[in-house]
Amino acid sequence: MRSVVRKTLALALLACTAATAHSADWIQLPEWEVDLDGRLVSSDGQKSFVNGGLGTLRYDHPQSGLRLGRARFALSEALGEVWSLRLDASAWADDDRNPVDLTEAYLQFRPYPFAGYRFRFKAGAFYAPMSLENRAAGWESPYTLSYSAINTWFGEELRTIGVEGQLDWLGTRTGHGFDLALTGGVFGWNDPAGTVIATRGFALSDRQTTLFGRVGSSKSSPYQPIELFHEIDGRPGYYAGVEARYLDKVVIRALHYDNRADPAAFDSAIDNFAWETHFNSVGLRAESANGWTGIVQWLDGETYIEPHGTYIGWPFRARFALVSRQMGHHRLSMRYDSFAVESESADGGGAQHGHAWTAAYVFEPDTHWKVTLEWLRVTSDAANRALDLGIPRVATETQIQLAVRFALGPLAR
């Protein structure tokens, strides 16, 4: 049955793409990967946002102990020479409504380069090219378990559900020292993006929101789970980005994003507004031949709604600097995050200021095993702690995690 479906899909695509000389290669088992990531956690954090609280860590104090960090299954199926299908599914072992759900699922068109240029096209659900930190499979960071505040937010609230085109100029293939890429995306189903940043604010975590999942827990109050990948106003959003690479040593990425949501639109089905969210992000990553890596990234944007014609806005900005050193199979990393959400609502609700330090040691003896020890401390001042929970605004939360990950399959690396 499965092979019939695959053959039908392959034949359908054959009709709309150029036929290839290797038609016998059409029917091929997909490349796959399975990862299991177990954690030993010690946390003094407040009730985590995963459980409907305002904590800035993935694991709160009662969640200390043995945890399943992530179970992941990825699939890559070549559909002829230039098309491929990619699926990335994960289980996060928390209260989300689907125990296993997709983080990405897309069809990619990647023709061979021509005269130093290459065009790529994606359709489906996937990450826009913004992070310079989340570069490993499954959109994970090779440096730390918890992502920076910027990229935690990106993985929580944003996903391209639409199409993306990218034009590459492959300078390093034509005797030059650098490559350039221009990217543009058009998407829908991301109108609630901004809700989390105006409610909880920034956090540091590796919990990516799944395509059919939600942020938060329905079992707990006061915050109801937020459904992020939902179309409310029928207006597509867009982003445009540029990337420059110098000999794989220095990468610069800039992205402008605007979901073009109608801030007056409300959807009673998910009990939420369309949040007009737009931002600019610029990042730089530099690597040396002797194992040093430095990453800096800036984020500056705003989200707002207009209930009954009244503007309420939450401008936000965040930045981080990461330094990492790889020595053989060992890697040490240190990161400083700073973040702020301003509130333009009457009671100042949603305002948040904070900073975080992360230190991580990674031991990766081979492509199968990876052991990470991470220490993370977040200090934050959040108005909603006082307004909604009646607890002090300022909190310092610390989380230590020991993670052991086992990866299996041809895609594991």
Partner: protein
């Protein structure tokens, strides 16, 4: 032919009566240095005869494998007319390509399958990449020279040559493609002749030593 941008003048190392070409051989040792005088390993050397018919080397059948998402070896020097087989020893697919003028081609390498060798007829530099794994990079240098090779880690390369006049050309992946350096010279009576070639311009910085094969985004 390689087009040399900067050709040094004729360098007569040893004058006097020259034997007919093809007679008594002598050893030529070429040392290649960077512009700041350090030995340059991995430089490609080709030697053309100027005073005798210049017969290209006999074509070969070479292999460039795919191992751990890298080309192995990452540089081949082959006579024009040679073929290169591209096996795939990885457990994932590759799609190799070149849009270099000397040989434009594209070849999917599905894992566990064999593909016919690719023939390189035209002299020049061919840059290879993989359409799936952007960090993969390799070169094929196609030459019509009768003698060719690469410098060792000490920047040195030796070849047995019949006495006569020659032009030695040097190229390295980290020079620009058109910026190979040529030198004309005569191998005379002595059994051993040495020449040092220093590049006029600094090399481009090397790409990362350990490229991140895990880069996925």
């Amino acid at each position: 032919m390689f087009h040399s941008r900067c050709v040094a003048g004729v360098l007569v190392l040893f004058g006097g009566f020259l034997e007919a070409a093809g007679a008594l051989a002598a050893t030529l040792t070429v040392a290649v240095q960077t512009s700041d005088g350090r030995p340059l390993g991995g430089a490609v050397l080709t030697v053309h005869a100027l005073s005798a018919p210049d017969h290209p080397a006999v074509p070969v059948n070479a292999i460039m494998d795919q191992v751990d998402r890298a080309f192995v070896p990452d540089l081949l020097v082959i006579p024009a007319g040679s073929t290169v087989e591209f096996p795939n020893s990885d457990s994932v697919n590759h799609q190799i390509y070149s849009f270099s003028a000397a040989k434009k081609f594209q070849l999917p390498l599905y894992r566990g399958k064999r593909y016919p060798p690719v023939r390189f007829d035209q002299v020049g530099f061919v840059t290879l990449g993989c359409n799936i794994h952007d960090s993969m990079l390799a070169y094929v240098v196609v030459t019509d020279a009768p003698y060719f090779g690469r410098t060792d880690s000490k920047g040195s390369w030796s070849v047995e040559l019949p006495r006569g006049a020659y032009r030695v050309t040097v190229w390295h992946p980290r020079t620009r493609e058109s910026a190979e350096i040529g030198r004309e010279m005569t191998i005379g009576d002595a059994d051993r002749t040495s020449v040092t070639v220093r590049l006029a311009q600094p090399l481009q910085p090397a790409p990362l030593d350990a490229r991140h094969s895990w880069d996925a985004y």
